[in-house]
């Protein structure tokens, strides 16, 4: 049953869906806070808002890495070709989603949020 979970074709879209949700949360969260209670520009990037966005990024990265590992592991276990294909491509897609989260999220460390 567990193996079916990680070799299911749904994994092909879960990673990048999570990336999309994370992306919308980052942009939406930033926009709402900047509209309602923008931090002082003098603070630079060292704001609670940036810290929150960075934390969200780290959690998402960790979760995607875990998912990538589970799929990769399942791909090595299964003997069914179609299941192996789905699991290994999904592992790659989770990994790509993780890299995408990191790449898009890194500016949080260096830029003021609402300037």
């Amino acid at each position: 049953m567990r193996q079916i979970l990680w070799t299911h074709p749904i994994n092909l879209v879960v990673g990048l869906t999570l990336w999309s949700v994370w992306f919308v949360a980052m942009y939406g969260g930033l926009s709402v806070v900047c509209a309602i209670a923008p931090p002082d520009p003098e603070q630079g990037p060292l704001t609670l808002l940036n810290a929150g966005l960075a934390l969200l990024t780290l959690i998402t990265v960790a979760f995607l890495a875990w998912l990538a590992w589970k799929c990769f592991h399942a791909s090595q276990q299964t003997t069914m070709r179609a299941a192996h294909f789905c699991a290994i491509v999904s592992a790659g897609l989770y990994l790509a989603s993780m890299v995408a989260v990191l790449f898009v999220g890194v500016p949080v460390l260096g830029l003021s949020p609402c300037v």
Partner: protein
Amino acid sequence: MNDSSQDSSRKTAPEDTRRFLEDLERVWANPRGLGALTIVNHTTVGLRFMLTGMAFFLVGGVLAMLIRSQLAFPGQNFMAPEIYNQVVTMHGTVMMFLFAIPILEGLAIYMIPKMIGARDLVCPRLSAFGYWCYLFGGLILLSSLFMEMAPSSGWFMYTPLSSKVYSPGLGSDFWLLGITFVEISALSAGVELVVSILRTRTQGMALHKMPLFAWYILAMAMMIVVGFPPLILGSVLLELERAVGMPFFDVAGGGDPILWQHLFWLFGHPEVYIIFLPGAGIVSTLIPVFAGRPIVGYGWAVFAVITTGFISFGLWVHHMFTVGMPQLAQTFFSAASMLVAVPTGIQIFLWLATLWLGKPRLQVPMLWIFGFLFVFVLGGLTGVMLALVPFNWQVHDTHFVVAHMHYVLVGGMFFPLIGGLYYWLPLFSGRMPSQTLGKWGFWLTFLGFNGTFLIMHWTGLLGMPRRVYTYGADEGWQLFNLISSVSSFLMAMGIAMILVDIMLHFRFGKPARQNPWNADTLEWATSMPPSPYNFVSLPKVETRHPLWEYPQLPRTIAEGRHGLAAAFHGRREIWGTDPLTGKLREVIHIPTNSWWPLFAALALAVVCISLLLRWYPLAGIAVLVAAGFLLRWSWENGAHPRAAPDTREQPGNPPLHSRTLDGPGVWTMAVALLANGAFFLSLLFGWFYLWTISPEWSMPPESPLSLTLLVLAGLASSAGWLWLERCVRRLRRRQGAGLAKGLYMISALGAVQLGLLVWVLVLAELDVTATAHDAVLMVSLVYVMLHTGFGAVLTLLQGLRVGYGYVGVEAPLEPVVVRLLWRYNLGVYWIVVVSLAVLPRMIGGTT
């Protein structure tokens, strides 16, 4: 394929075979004369899409020539500014909405069933309906040009330029209503392509054995399903603003014009990839054939397709870098814009590696593929440049962007499309095109294209803004513009050469032999041109390259030695298979030719024209007529005698889909609801966006929506849903007693919910023209009311169908489909209640 040898050893008597072929011809026959309007077959509908798209392309091309003629020299008066604006707007609109997407959909509709070993798409009447919506919507939109009242605000219709104040004529209305009509077509195609690819591949064709083209089309179709609804919502809102005065995009009324930009580009940027992916799919199909070897890195290609599909949704704001937003937000979109180049780069390296390791044959289709590689890579590189915010600011709204866009779209879509056209031409006609004319056509187009648009990068860098109708002689742009204009006519000559070649080949082309390019995919196992049923029998396929490994397949298929080789029952049949493994699950019997799709589309055309002319009573009547046609059409589904004249199952075959609980109807409803969900989420986004961002947003301190009545309505809906779940559970256990009564009661609960919502609306006394707040409440309430009413009517019809024997223990599928709608309605309803009635009470309004 292993078992296909077993299948192919099946011997039938010549008399049986003859009778079977006669039955097959009769069941799948396309009527002639006026009856041809009823044809729903994917081959005919796909061709209609492509031919209509080509006609619109010629119109768009003539408009392009007019633009280049106007800009050839400074200070020209060839066209008045207002006419030039119409021509520019219509050029972009026609090319994007009436040519690029429909022609690719047409190609997919034509090709996908043949490639995956099916006889038709899973919802053929939906294909036909989509085509008629496209044709009528396109003609309505185009008619504005001839009446000199075409839209003139640019193909992206930015507000407030497109609003009533600055565009008082009917131009914007033509665009909004016409495009929305056309988009019904895109969504229809998107939904059914997804379901067909996932559920109707031939026996044994597991997901990892699917032709790469099908992966690309699957991604494109899913992107259409998710990407088009934001624009449909935007168009509805803008039309409501123009027609009724609801101020969604008017700052004074609490709206925001930037909301339009968000909704437009939420659709607009993915659309670039919706256009590119099928083009890349053609490239991934042709390169292995002409290199004579399988593509390098099939799994990597799938990886790249999926990644492109998703990341392309995270770029929309890079069209809006100059509207003013925090730098940090800009970096998110800048980074995502750079990221999307990675999967594209992966595909390019896969194609190059395949060519490197194979023995490429430089025939006409491959010329276009090489042209694609050159042009698209350049367009991709300027795309990465535009992803960089400071550079983007500098060249925003200049001809540099026009050049980039054409390199990406013409390079990424037009070049592969023509390559694919030359490649599949023998399949369409049974004849080969001329190599000489084909090469002339390519080189003239290639040189003309680069002469037109490469130069335009420089005119852009020199500061020439886009969309200006003329320029001064002292600007220093005249030589570049002249070269662009002359080259554009060279390109037009190239395209004319291609058209001449295509037309001549129908008469003078050499007859093509079977599989003339030595291709590996199943479409070449059909007759040339293909019969309406594609395959006499459906083979078991367990390889990515069926025709390379089993070259005798066309013969054994034609001899009826594989699956579904019987048609005496009068049903149009295809396999229903497992999405992952390709194992057989059911026999899908699909609907036959019908007038309903045409009638429904005609009624919607009347709605569209009535709204344009502000004849609202007629529009209302036409809506009811269209709904009547659509419901009558739905009545002939499932176990209805017209859908399944003979319900006996063939020995050894899986059950008929209408006798199962997981037929393609469930999948079709699920994918359609995904599109609906994208529309709803866009509406929700609009609500929260205006609430938080709009500078003049005004919300009363007390919500005008009665929470008590809303909760009561929600309880009625919840009770109906629970009852329906119980009905389906009982059907699963083959208990049909009291089913009709239950369905009538569920429908009544839907009606109660609808009545309560009407009461909520009346009590709210919304002033929809005064504030965007009230206008959004009205649209949201109407949205849930329409869904509630729709759910109630469908459930009522289910009750009636039980009485007729079309639904019951033996045919349990339809209540499962309707249950999905109820689940969706319920989820959406409570989200609306929380967002519109509970949160404002908790957070408090502002005045």
